[in-house]
């Protein structure tokens, strides 16, 4: 798992530019699947054939980033966000563009740090003129946090764990699942961070009988955190709701049953803010029973997201057991 996660979190993959992540995942899962295809929006669909109902699992490949909207004559870049980025998370950070160009953040003079907004900020790539900057970046180019994975006890800390952690879990499941009576579609989706867009089109094509999002979820286990019962290290979560879906009761209950019968720790995910790919999946065509299994994650959408190793291992166990035994 460490090897997979180190590799995946290091890769560049903001919404709309998931190709490096896709190529890496394709290589890891292809030997374990009957068919792996890339659809028109760039979703990677890994199919493990079975005679039973169609199960769709979705983990998104994309991460948040910042997009260049202007290059001034001194070579400074103005930018906007791609996905849920907060201005204060950017201060002091280093970002990297697809071609390897590094950038750091600066801001105009502010009377009060509360006035910090994207409009007042810029990226400095070390260029001294517009011409020099334009050799390295172009309007519309996107940069992501530059931060390698480290270990801290039972925890992993990295950028992009949302949702490379989910991707890693899904990869492990595909690699370790020897056979299943069900027809399994593991979809590594694009453009989740800008509005769960890849899941919408892939679910349309697959038309699954059951859908599961495999994403990270917010926790409430840090000092004076917003109320949230989920904690790191207490097991993967079984989705009850997020901002885009109410998990189908059968999906939720069958996941609980499997967790109990296999002695896998679990928690319930009741997420007020933030949606997942389960949202568009459950509204596909005439409707799909959907839910999710999530990995608790601290500091989501920061360069230092944190997850628990045992939670990830247990998520793999839960999904393997579920895919083998579930009846839709």
């Amino acid at each position: 798992m460490k090897e997979i996660l180190t590799k995946l979190t290091r890769l560049y993959g903001p919404s709309g530019h998931e190709e490096f992540v896709r190529d890496a995942i394709k290589e890891m899962v292809e030997p374990h699947c009957d068919e792996v295809i890339v659809d028109p929006l760039g979703n990677l669909i890994a199919h493990k054939k079975g005679s039973g109902p169609k199960l769709m699992l979705a983990a998104h490949m994309d991460e948040i980033g910042v997009m260049v909207t202007d290059i001034d004559k001194e070579g400074f870049l103005r930018f906007t966000k791609v996905g849920g980025v907060s201005p204060h998370q950017l201060l002091g950070q280093r970002v990297v563009f697809k071609n390897g160009t590094f950038g750091v953040f600066g801001h105009e003079k502010l009377d009060d740090i509360k006035d910090l907004k994207f409009e007042k900020m810029f990226i400095d790539i070390g260029a001294t003129s517009r011409e020099e900057a334009e050799e390295k970046v172009s309007l519309g180019d996107v940069a992501v946090f530059d931060r390698d994975l480290v270990e801290a006890g039972d925890r992993w800390i990295a950028k992009g764990l949302d949702d490379r952690a989910g991707c890693a879990v899904l990869i492990k499941v595909l690699q370790e699942l020897s056979s299943s009576p069900n027809d399994i579609y593991a979809v590594f989706t694009v453009q989740e961070e800008v509005g769960t867009r890849g899941a919408k089109t892939s679910a349309y094509s697959i038309e699954p009988d059951l859908g599961l999002a495999v994403d990270v979820t917010l926790v409430g286990d840090t000092p004076k955190a917003p109320t949230n019962a989920v904690a790191l290290g207490k097991g993967p979560t079984i989705k009850v709701k997020d901002a885009l879906v109410l998990a189908h009761p059968q999906v939720k209950e069958s996941l609980v049953e499997v967790a109990k019968s296999h002695g896998i720790p679990y928690q319930f995910e009741i997420l007020d803010n933030g949606g997942t790919d389960a949202g568009p999946i459950h509204l596909t065509k005439s409707g799909v029973k959907s839910g999710g299994v999530s990995i608790p994650c601290r500091y989501v959408h920061s360069p230092t997201e944190m997850v628990s190793k045992t939670d990830m291992d247990n998520a793999v166990k839960l999904l393997k057991a579920y895919l083998t035994s579930v009846q839709v």
Partner: protein, 341 residues
């Protein structure tokens, strides 16, 4: 001239008949088949069934406007916006109401009667009314009814060198570009779709996205030109006269990068000016068209327009010509090399 006719036609969202009729008459001899769906989207097909690859090009017919929501006892009309409108652009503007195009003027309390504090506040929809020159509710009801749509009454005029003034260039500029594209012949399948109800949430396109499954979709828009005073250089969007603008991202879509790269190359090879739309705000038909079914590579190409969503917009006709040239050259390249990937 088609742009003049398109601009002066009235087509507030859900009442796009005038523009649709105009386009149908203009295009029926240039395309194989013209169809209107149940929501009013107009489909113009050229080689669609028999040829590959299939390209969908869309522009929306509707414009922002107002809807009559109350008739006061003295015959003044209250209204709500249809689409996103800044209430500050409305006062003292001439308008036309309903199918019969009853003329009216948007009124407000005159300056002489305002308290000093009131003069400092921007007028909101609730402070405004339409005056159609009647004295009573009964007289007003003889001319208009609740739910009637209201459009700006703006004459199309030429100003300066190739610049024109008119209303609704968002998206009649796109309609004019698409109409011109449809007059040429191609060795590929082309569906030119003029959509309805974009300004109220890309509703026509929602249905179109579920109807057609092309290999590539191009959305043509009239978009904000922010090359005016009071806007900082880095906060701008597009510049009038600098050619078609490619969207890098907006609220509804991340465009298909290989197609953007191809468009940039084509512009360079053919000496067509081109720019990026640097604002990432707003939405278009592109989202619904990209994701109506299994996913379609989609891009947005816009004609820069100053003062969109107001009674008087400006557009540079050279930008319109260059947008036509860019898309036609692009379609020629698709005939040879297929859809960029």
């Amino acid at each position: 001239m088609l742009l003049k006719e398109l601009s002066e036609a009235v087509a507030v969202s859900s009442r796009e008949d005038e523009v649709r009729t105009l386009l149908k008459e203009h295009l029926s001899s240039s395309v194989d088949e013209v169809k209107t769906d149940r929501l009013g989207n107009l489909f113009c097909y050229k080689g669609w069934k028999e040829s590959q690859p299939k390209i969908l090009i869309a522009a929306h017919m509707d414009e922002v406007g107002l809807m009559v929501t109350k008739i006061e006892k003295d015959g003044f009309l209250r209204f709500q916006p249809v689409g996103s409108l800044d209430p500050r652009v409305l006062v003292s503007k001439p308008v036309v109401i309903g199918k019969e195009k009853v003329p009216g003027v948007i009124g407000a309390k005159p300056i002489h009667l305002q308290e000093p504090d009131e003069r400092k506040k921007a007028l909101d929809f609730k402070d405004l009314f339409i005056d159609i020159g009647v004295d009573s509710k009964a007289e007003a009801e003889g001319l208009v009814s609740l739910g009637d749509l209201v459009a700006f009454s703006t004459e199309y005029e030429e100003l300066g060198d190739g610049i024109v003034k008119g209303k609704a260039f968002d998206d009649r500029a796109g309609c004019a570009v698409l109409a011109e594209i449809l007059k040429r012949d191609y060795r590929l399948g082309l569906a030119g779709v003029f959509t309805v109800q974009e300004e109220v949430g890309a509703r026509g396109a929602e249905v179109v996205g579920k109807t057609l499954e092309p290999d590539l979709t191009i959305v043509l828009e009239g978009t904000t030109a922010a090359d005016v005073p009071e806007i900082e250089e880095h906060e701008g969007s597009t510049k009038m006269g600098y050619g078609p603008a490619l969207t890098i991202m907006d609220g509804s879509v991340l465009p298909h990068r290989p197609t953007l790269d191809k468009l940039l190359k084509i512009a360079e090879a053919n000496d067509i000016p081109i720019q990026f739309r640097r604002s990432t705000k707003g939405f278009t038909d592109a989202g619904s068209l990209q994701r109506g079914r299994g996913g379609i590579p989609t891009v947005v190409v816009s004609v820069p327009c100053r003062y969109i969503h107001s009674p008087a917009c400006l557009v540079d006709t050279k930008d319109i010509e260059n947008t036509v040239a860019l898309i036609v050259e692009f379609l020629r390249s698709v005939e040879q090399e297929g859809v960029p990937s």
